[in-house]
Symmetry: C2
Subunit: 256 residues, 2 copies
Amino acid sequence: MNRERLIFLTNDDSYRSKGFEAAIEVARHFGRVIAIAPEAPQSGMSQAITIYNPLRLRKVRDEEGVTVYALNGTPVDCVKMAFDYLLTNEKVDLAISGINHGSNAAINVLYSGTMGAAIEASFYNIPSIGLSLTDHDPDADFEGAVKYGVEIVGKVLEKGVSLPCCLNVNVPNIPLAEIKGVRISRQTRGFWREEFFLRTDPHGREYFWLTGGFQNAEPAAEESDEWALANGYVAVVPIKVDMTEYRQLEELELLL
Amino acid sequence: MNRERLIFLTNDDSYRSKGFEAAIEVARHFGRVIAIAPEAPQSGMSQAITIYNPLRLRKVRDEEGVTVYALNGTPVDCVKMAFDYLLTNEKVDLAISGINHGSNAAINVLYSGTMGAAIEASFYNIPSIGLSLTDHDPDADFEGAVKYGVEIVGKVLEKGVSLPCCLNVNVPNIPLAEIKGVRISRQTRGFWREEFFLRTDPHGREYFWLTGGFQNAEPAAEESDEWALANGYVAVVPIKVDMTEYRQLEELELLL
């Protein structure tokens, strides 16, 4: 028999979230699990790293095949701590980030702590998969996300994939029986537009809450991840980290 | 005479940094300046947004042509607060983020709060320019960065550029007279590898400091931004926000 596989796990909702347990369930299908997850929720933390504060790591769970550490940092800190410190003597087969409570489709990939961690893990020469469910409820139903998570991770591990590989997997919040399957997609164009709720605290000082909504610039684009989700598919977008806009190089050569 | 131009300004080193004053100097060449900058340093904050905490905005400076607000949030929060709240009745001509103390070339674009803000500002249908100097010193010499900042912003404003436009401009830390000019570049391939410094606090508890170095995967690539900087050029990389790895779509269609 082959050596048991090792799956690294992290997320952005903290090690105490229901989605994190769902990710453990996915990963346990394939081998041993070592996780470093944030102590506190880190939604919207993007690819942020901790520069000004010390990091503290503590083991919060150690049972047959599942070891979980909590770190008082960002999702990307968790990944760096794993691959440049804790697991330098281990061979990790794959990284999973999630399962996120809430969609990371479209431009959300840029703000998402879940995807920040998934992107970071792909820098360490392993396939990396960010899993998200389009439901922010802390008690969301992860049945469909677990089922498709297992299917996608299984195919990546068993058939192999060319590296670097980082997948942004979003699962629609509908009953498992209604999910139509996996749809390879591209990032939807569109941006968030925010509303700031102005309130006054008991000391008479004003403050704001940031909130807003995603404005889909191409709701009819069948190749986009938002379309896939809206039409009952699991959307899978391969992510790259070269942000150069090659099409603009020539214009800039003339301009500057 | 035309209406006076309006430049929006932000950064990630806070409104009290020397580089922020240098950015005001750049912007003042072109018109009125309204800035929202972080209260506290936000280096490494990437595209992070503040979800769990209220935001407080206060005016910290108001003089002829220059108004500065401080916000207790991330660089991206500052941009959203500007374009979705404070400046919704103004026509902004261009956004500048910086001038950052430290390089944002190569993969740093993903971690950078400066570039997070520059990217965010480009979502509001204006040209957006992130300016960085490859020197972390709080008292760094911004002469070259100001000179080239003025040159680049001037050309973008006067000749125009196709939108969306987000430029990642990095200036080498050498005397102005030795800078060879502007070089349009692409993002250098390579990743950070971290070292975690383990220490023990006076209470006997261990903690880590995150630190590390960038590993350039292609130091000889003359089209890369790191090469440009190492060879005395100002590196300009146009940034896009569609992170889809199109070349991998077909492989995934077969795999999943």
